[in-house]
Each structure stands twice: as structure tokens, then as C-alpha cells.
């Protein structure tokens, strides 16, 4: 038990603490200095372009599968026209943000960790420091701000594609009535569902960027270190997103309930 605590729990807690310190440093830098918009725009572009294919495919096929499966169940109780409403609500508040974030963690989080990890092992981060530039200002802040901005955009894209694809499957392949489908979808999808989804996406963007930057900047020597940092950044951000999603659903849900 003690062994377990030393081997797993202590490093885990230490990592969590260091990521919190990194977040504080980045926030301090944002407050103290101007946001480097040029690099932020470049990073948004980079994150967005890198993620187009995965986000489109994930969004479309998740929407289609969800639509088809919901139809098969609802058809038994003659609720065909509620299919799109179910797809729309679950895409907006759960599947859209979570799946997009997982995909972005796999593509962008990994590439951030690999890039910063390579910079670290080739002493480029040390060189940056000798040139009187804070690595957090130059490397972390643009990526963090860009991920915060890009993930809600990508999530919105995935949601639209998902609902559109599900509509297409429902109406053209399964023969659901299009007018009632739209009517129900709009009626049962609350503005709060969209708001919750966007809030989650905003938070997951920060998780992906922070863990990617942290893993890259603390990576150990050599090619092996960079490889490990890359893998770990994907694994840890995915797990963190899934766990955070549960708590966000609970807390955001109860906030909306209060309003």
C-alpha cells in the first residue's frame, strides 16, 4: 500500500501541482503582458487545420450512428420524429465537446508535446531562456489561448456536421418525416445545451494545451523521452477530459437547474 502510494500517487500529485503552477504562470503572463495575437492566430490556424479531417469524420459518423440507433429504438414506440431531438441534445452538450476534445488531444496535444519536447532535448528552450525570453510567454501562452479559442469552434463544427449527417440518414435512408424532425429538434434543444457544450469545449482546450505543454517542457532526455512525453500527453489529457466531463455535466447541469 505504501509502495503504491510512493510509486503512483506521489508523482501523480506532483504532476498535478506542477501543471497548476504552469497554469498560474501562464495566467500571470496573460495579465502582465500583452497577448501575442500574431502567434495566437497562427496557432489557431495550425490547430484548426490539423484537426479538420478528424473532427469532420468524428462528428459525421457519430451523428449518423447515434441517429440510426436512436431511430431503431424509438421506432418501436412510434416516436420516430423525436430521433433528431435526441441526437441534437446529446451532440450539443456531451458528444460534441468530448469527442472533439479527444480527437484534438490525439492530434494537437501530441504535436505540442512532441514539438516542445524536441525543443527541450535540443536545448532550444534553454537557448530561449538565455535570450531573455520566458518560455511560458513565448511557447505556452499562445498555444493555451489558441486552444481555448479553437476548441469551441471545432466543437461547433462537429455538432453541426453531426446533426446534419444524422438528419440526412434519418430523412433519406430511414424515411423519417423531415418537418417534424426539425420541429422537435429545435423545440427540445435548449440554448443552455449549446452553452454547456461550448463551456466544456473551452475548458477542454485548456486541458489539452496545458498537459501537452507540460509534458513537452518536462520531457526527459533523448528521442525516447520525446516519445514518452507524446504518448503520456495524449493518455493523460484523454483521461482528464473524460473525468472532467462527468463533473462538468453535474455542476453545469445543476447551475442551469438553479437559473
Amino acid at each position: 500500500m505504501n509502495f503504491l502510494a510512493n510509486k503512483w500517487v506521489a508523482p501523480w500529485l506532483e504532476g498535478l501541482g506542477r501543471i497548476a503552477l504552469l497554469a498560474r504562470e501562464a495566467l500571470g503572463s496573460l495579465v502582465l503582458l500583452r497577448v501575442p495575437w500574431r502567434s495566437v492566430v497562427y496557432q489557431v490556424y495550425y490547430i484548426g487545420v490539423k484537426s479538420q479531417s478528424v473532427v469532420l469524420i468524428t462528428g459525421a459518423f457519430t451523428g449518423m450512428v447515434l441517429g440510426a440507433q436512436t431511430y431503431f429504438q424509438f421506432h418501436k414506440v412510434k416516436m420516430d420524429t423525436a430521433t433528431l431531438a435526441v441526437v441534437s441534445v446529446s451532440m450539443c452538450s456531451e458528444l460534441g465537446p468530448v469527442l472533439t476534445a479527444l480527437m484534438v488531444a490525439g492530434r494537437v496535444g501530441a504535436s505540442i508535446a512532441a514539438e516542445l519536447g524536441t525543443m527541450r532535448v535540443t536545448e532550444q528552450i534553454d537557448a530561449l531562456r538565455t535570450l531573455a525570453t520566458h518560455p511560458v510567454d513565448y511557447l505556452v501562452v499562445p498555444r493555451l489561448v489558441a486552444a481555448h479559442l479553437a476548441l469551441p469552434l471545432l466543437t461547433a463544427e462537429a455538432i453541426c456536421i453531426g446533426i446534419g449527417a444524422s438528419y440526412w440518414v434519418g430523412v433519406h435512408l430511414l424515411g423519417i418525416d423531415p418537418t417534424y424532425s426539425w420541429y422537435n429538434a429545435i423545440r427540445y434543444t435548449d440554448a443552455f445545451d449549446v452553452l454547456i457544450g461550448m463551456t466544456k469545449a473551452f475548458i477542454y482546450g485548456g486541458i489539452v494545451a496545458l498537459i501537452g505543454c507540460y509534458k513537452g517542457m518536462t520531457c526527459s532526455e533523448g528521442a525516447e523521452g520525446v516519445g514518452r512525453a507524446t504518448t503520456e500527453s495524449v493518455v493523460y489529457s484523454s483521461i482528464t477530459i473524460l473525468i472532467a466531463n462527468f463533473f462538468l455535466t453535474l455542476s453545469l447541469g445543476s447551475i442551469v437547474h438553479l437559473l
Binding site: 534553454d126 537557448a127 525570453t133 511560458v136
Partner: protein
């Protein structure tokens, strides 16, 4: 002025530096020699706060830097230029962007002025017209010279060189030595050179420190070091290895 007092550093359980003490005056050039893996690069990184000692002091112009955090160190580092052993160029940027980095980020300078200075700096290191190349297109020696241009362009008060001539051909080595001397004398730069190129040590150093056994083993002018009777120093200068170490 750079002063190091009783500096100790361990990586894990392995001690690398154990009580290093020396002082380098303003305008002086010091050469640190020692065996590969002896901790020369580690020592150099302590002078600019890239590494924190386990104990001991590092003073830059009478100001202790060991307890400063990363942000407090920024103004101190503005006084320093450093050439890394592997050049450490930013490989996502072009040569010109690498060289201009400090001017763009710390000195708010007009774009035309930056371009002019970059061209001058590249001229100085004998690489004119390479502005738009990427570091991956350059040879090791060229990269080192770009690294040098990047460090001297903002005319720092202190220059740290980590093995500036290692792995270069004799002609290029000679031009780098001359460049180090020129920078030192023209800008009155306090210079610290880590090397095991004895020819270069003799030319650029006012004083030579030998790092051996995790401490400064010997210190003196090049004349004193080259005529030293100390067996460790003699072996190093003459490049004699202990035959007992070679076993097949």
C-alpha cells in the same frame, strides 16, 4: 564580474560539481578546460541561471542570482549572450529570424534596422547571404556560427561559449577564435570559454581554470598553466591518457 562561491550540484545521487569557487573580472576572458563529462557545460549553465545549484552562490555584478525566479532572471540574462555546444538554433525559424530573435523580442527595433544588423552579424561570422536558409540546411560549423551571431547581435556584457571550436576544421576554428577576441576587445565583453582545444585556450584566455575532480583543480595565466608541473594538468595539456584505462 562573475563570481562563483562553493557551488555544489548533484543530478540524482551523482555529484557533478562539489565546491567550485572562482571569480572573473569585468572585461577579462576566462577559459575553463577539463575532461569531457567533467561538468563544464553544467558549470556554464549555472552562470546564467539555467540550472540552480544545490548550494553555493553565483554572483553577477555583485548580485546573487541563485534565488531568483525565472522572471526575475530575465533582466540579468539580457546582459548575457550564450553559444551552446550544439548551437541550439530554433529549427522552426530561418537563420535571419534566429539571429534577430533578441532584437525582435526585447529591443523594439524598426524592421529595417533589424535587417541591417542581421546582415552585419552574418557578415561577421562569415555567412553572408544565408538569411533565408533553415538551420537544418546548414552544416554543424555553420550552425555554430549562426548561434554566435544570434548571441553577439545585441552586444551583451557577458559572453559564454560552450566548446565554440569543437568539431570544426582548423581554419574555421581559427576564425571563431579571432571572432571571440574581436568581440571581447571591441565591446569590452567579459568572456567565459569552455573548451578542450588547447590552442584556442591559449589564444583567447587571460586566465585558464581547469575543472577536475568536481572542483577547480588549477588556475592561472596561460603561461602558468602551460608550464605547470602538476601531473593532472600536464596529462591534459599533452593529451596523455593513462594506459591502464585501456583494456580489451
Amino acid at each position: 564580474m562573475i563570481e562563483v562561491r562553493d557551488l555544489k550540484k548533484k543530478f540524482g545521487a551523482q555529484p557533478i560539481l562539489d565546491g567550485v569557487t572562482f571569480r572573473i573580472e569585468t572585461g577579462e576572458s576566462a577559459v575553463i578546460i577539463g575532461r569531457s563529462g567533467g561538468g563544464k557545460s553544467v558549470l556554464l549553465k549555472h552562470l546564467i541561471g539555467l540550472l540552480k545549484p544545490d548550494s553555493g552562490e553565483v554572483l553577477v555584478d555583485n548580485q546573487s542570482i541563485v534565488s531568483m525566479n525565472e522572471r526575475e532572471l530575465l533582466p540579468v540574462r539580457r546582459k548575457f549572450g550564450m553559444l551552446f555546444q550544439g548551437a541550439a538554433l530554433f529549427d522552426s525559424l530561418t537563420v535571419a529570424e534566429n539571429v534577430a530573435f533578441a532584437l525582435r523580442h526585447n529591443h523594439r527595433m524598426a524592421e529595417g534596422e533589424i535587417r541591417r544588423r542581421v546582415a552585419t552579424a552574418l557578415e561577421m561570422v562569415d555567412l553572408p547571404g544565408t538569411e533565408n536558409k533553415k538551420p537544418s540546411e546548414l552544416s554543424g560549423g555553420m550552425r555554430k556560427r549562426v548561434g554566435l551571431a544570434r548571441a553577439i547581435i545585441y552586444e551583451p556584457q557577458f559572453m559564454l561559449y560552450d566548446e565554440p571550436t569543437t568539431g570544426l576544421d582548423p581554419v574555421v576554428s581559427d576564425s571563431i577564435d579571432q571572432l571571440i577576441l574581436r568581440v571581447r576587445d571591441r565591446l569590452k565583453v567579459t568572456t567565459v570559454v569552455v573548451t578542450h582545444d588547447m590552442r584556442s585556450a591559449r589564444r583567447v584566455g587571460h586566465r585558464i581554470f581547469m575543472l577536475h575532480g568536481k572542483k577547480i583543480h588549477a588556475a592561472g595565466t596561460p603561461e602558468e598553466i602551460f608550464h605547470s608541473a602538476d601531473p593532472v594538468v600536464r596529462n591534459f595539456i599533452e593529451g596523455v591518457s593513462n594506459p591502464k584505462e585501456i583494456t580489451f
